[in-house]
């Protein structure tokens, strides 16, 4: 007995920490070879193995272990992964006061669904009374005329005559200002009167008119203190959603250096339970001097700054067509019902030329696509590059996957592409776009996840936060149920089973960003990242998956409980 104890002490590496075993009501490992477990042993931030208290004995008998039973009534998943969100956009938005038609769960506030004009005005008044005085400009986000009716300057003046109030539209493309706000940012009188997208009478600034306001508010919105406050808030949002890894899928969206400084200060800290894969936006931008080959060097150079929390992996982000929330996706015939046209975010030839430079340099490419013509361009370029310079690695991902066709999915499969999808479009836009934009067939079939399954194309789910809530379970819920905003089921053939949806926010999400060897499932040797849920998505009624709360996350073996107000 004594001899055995001595042996243990001697063979144990002096710097090795103790083993912790977490037990749970059920552990969903997301590993097909052992889908379920009851206990998982963790040491030094890594998973030793998952199984039962009994099966873990070869480790625990030899080294001893602390059995942590605090999750014994809970369900454990691998840490959730969001392979596409925008920390910088979140940091700019979150310090705003939310009044939204849909529910939003934020760490410091639970935002209820507000509908109707009266409801909106009431919420605005309350919000202003609560926070108005503490901000130079009271900015509220989430207004949408479909749900909140018409809103004018007069309504805002009634809330306050002399404190600037800015109502920022859900789509980000429109603003309504009271007189004090118009005076505060000093909009030129002549511009107010002549601008075709500024309605001076009702204080509404849309699209190109909104740019006038955004330029005037820049110093306020991008003030460093406000940005850091927003980033802090964003980290809480991400934790509340149950994430342990996310990808910033357009790092440098505002500025490479300033974003890096802020991220490094806020995220590269021991107490932050998150790692971020940095995927820079592709260069050269319009107006840049460098050639595509030089742009590759610029992006290469960014990787030197990698650390454990913020790191690069030779991935780059490009864009084809316009934003779906602004109805600027490029559509194949018959296009939009009202006959308007979408837009290209990059000239198609330049898109091809720039992607080619990164493709031949061995980068993995992520392409933002929203409309079916946008997808067509991205897949045409994929096909061309595969014929010119074949690659067998998973190197081309369609991001968002708004409106596509079945044939495009088949061709994507043929040329080795994959998909990172935003299913939330179906819920928030499905019905509105059916009625007003592109008709039932194409709107109901947006984000055709069922087709991806039938064609065996690997896919993940993402939030694109701030475009949709950073709540993986809400996305899984949309993917499983395809319920529109008013509760109609849209294209039931495109639903996916719960297991597929849960994979799409764990192991398949890790795969989409190339991290499947270290995260995404609970198996021996991976990082001990877990998401602990109060209920089991496999057991509850599928329509209630979104209501399951995240109890805690475990990041590299350390527990970070979600603090509930």
């Amino acid at each position: 007995m004594q001899l055995a104890a001595l042996f243990v002490r001697l063979t144990r590496k002096p710097d090795m920490s103790d083993i912790t075993v977490f037990t749970a009501r059920r552990i969903h490992t997301m590993s097909a070879s052992q889908p379920h477990a009851e206990a998982v042993a963790v040491r030094d931030g890594l998973i030793l193995e998952a199984g039962t208290l009994d099966s873990l004995k070869p480790w625990t008998d030899r080294y001893g272990a602390t059995v942590d039973e605090r999750f014994k009534d809970k369900t454990i998943f691998p840490g959730f992964v969001d392979p596409h969100l925008h920390p910088s956009l979140g940091a700019v938005l979150l310090p705003s006061y939310f009044i939204t038609a849909m529910e939003w769960s934020l760490p410091d506030r639970k935002v209820p669904a507000t509908k109707g004009r009266d409801g909106y005005l009431q919420a605005l008044k309350e919000g202003f009374e609560k926070e108005g005085a503490s901000r130079d400009v009271f900015v509220t986000w989430g207004y949408h005329q479909l749900w909140h009716g018409d809103l004018t300057k007069a309504d805002l003046n009634a809330v306050s005559k002399d404190h600037p109030i800015v109502v920022w539209h859900r789509s980000f493309h429109e603003l309504i200002l009271n007189d004090a706000a118009i005076a505060h940012i000093g909009v030129d009188q002549e511009v107010m009167e002549r601008h075709p997208q500024i309605n001076a009478e009702i204080g509404r600034f849309s699209e190109t008119g909104a740019k006038v306001v955004m330029a005037g508010l820049k110093d306020f919105l991008f003030n460093p203190a406000r940005f850091l406050e927003g980033l802090q808030s964003l980290l809480q949002v991400i934790h509340l959603g149950g994430h342990t890894t996310v990808a910033d899928m357009a790092y440098g969206i505002f500025d490479f250096e300033q974003e890096w400084m802020a991220f490094n200060a806020m995220i590269n800290r021991d107490e932050v339970p998150l790692r971020v894969l940095m995927v820079p936006k592709g260069l050269p931008e319009d107006g840049a001097k460098e050639s595509p080959a030089d742009a590759v060097k610029v992006i290469d150079g960014l990787a030197d700054r990698s650390n454990d929390k913020l790191f690069f992996d030779r991935r780059v982000k490009f864009f084809t067509d316009g934003a779906i929330f602004s109805e600027l996706m490029q559509m194949e015939e018959p296009g939009y019902i009202d006959g308007h046209e979408g837009e290209w975010l990059m000239v198609p030839e330049l898109f091809e030329e720039r992607v080619r430079a990164f493709w031949t340099a061995g980068y993995r490419i992520h392409v933002h696509c929203t409309g079916n013509l946008g997808h067509e361009l991205a897949i045409d370029v994929l096909e061309k590059l595969q014929r010119e310079h074949p690659r067998l690695d998973p190197c081309y991902t369609i991001e968002h996957f708004g409106v596509s066709t079945e044939e495009q999915v088949q061709r994507l499969k043929q040329f080795g592409g994959r998909v990172s999808a935003n299913p939330y479009y179906v819920h928030e836009l499905g019905e509105a776009y059916w009625v007003k934009s592109i008709g039932f067939e194409r709107a109901s079939q947006m984000v055709r996840l069922g087709t991806l399954m039938r064609e065996n194309v690997p896919f993940a789910l993402h939030s694109d936060f701030t475009m949709a809530p950073a709540e993986p379970l809400k996305n899984a819920w949309v993917a499983v149920n395809r319920l529109s905003e008013s509760g109609k089921v849209l294209a039931p053939e495109e639903k996916i089973p719960v297991h597929q949806a849960m994979k799409a926010i764990t192991i398949d999400a890790a795969r989409i960003i190339g991290l499947e060897n270290s995260i995404g499932s609970i198996r021996s040797g991976k990082k001990a990242d877990f998401t602990v849920l109060d209920d089991d998505p496999y057991e509850v009624a599928p329509e209630t998956i979104k209501d399951i709360t995240v109890h805690a996350t475990v990041f590299e073996g350390r527990v970070f409980e979600v603090i509930k107000e």
Binding site: D188, R194, H195, T208, K211, A215, G287, E343, V347, E376
Partner: protein, 302 residues
Amino acid sequence: MTDAIPCLILGGYLGAGKTTLINGLLSRHHGKQITVLVNDFGAINIDAALINNKDGDTLSLTNGCACCSIGDSLLETADRVVRGENPPDLLLVEASGAAEPGRMKQILMGVPGLKAAQCLTVVDASTFQKRLRDKFVGKLVRAQLKQADCLYINRLAEGKEPEDPVLASLNKPRMTSAQEVFRYLGALGAEKTDLSVDLGAEKEAAEALQTFTLPIPADMERKDLQAKLTRLPTSIHRLKGILTLKERGADQVFTVQGNGQDCTFVKTEPRNRDIPSGLVLIGPVSDQDRRRITDLLTTAQL
């Protein structure tokens, strides 16, 4: 407002010839202060002797013109130029190939002190039909035409009128030479001050469009000539000729066509023993430029 600055958007799809026009405009001595906002700063090609100062993304030229990169925000860049110490007589804005000029006009409406912008869309007559049929950009190219106030039909085969039904149906004022465009810009720029200097007027004849023929020595190697042509100023927008040259030491007749940057040499059967070996060059060049070009092309050495 009387002192508002006139503004022109130079629209058109990728490769239509916007940059050539801008390079030509910036290199001329026309007595106007023109600020050009460009998308692709890298494509601006100006003789170093003309550059007064380079400060970040702004080039100031000795002729009073300036060129700035649009950067992230057209609205803010244009606003900075208009509010600057030395506001220009004319603001010229190059649209990106993907841009719809109508939307840019609206953005520029947000700049105090700037007149409502006009839009000139440049059409490349040689590729235009193909672009219109392109599944990705056909509609965009059409929108760029529809939203224009006037058109510049570029690279039109000599002496031909554009007969395209799409263009004909648009019924918009058309220009078919850079010279006309410069004259049009001169008229726009005159609105702000009493300067009525016409950018394309006769007194600028020294730099007006010229056509001249240079004798090319028959002992010049084909590849040497090809290398020399890449050194021509970009204002030479067209060259052509039937030349006797050396190909690896042996005589060979070539039909030469294109411009300095992109020129084809096609082997040709000599029809007549004594073809004059002359190269025709077309473009707006100064006398000084013309002397330099003559020295470059009429001596066999590299």
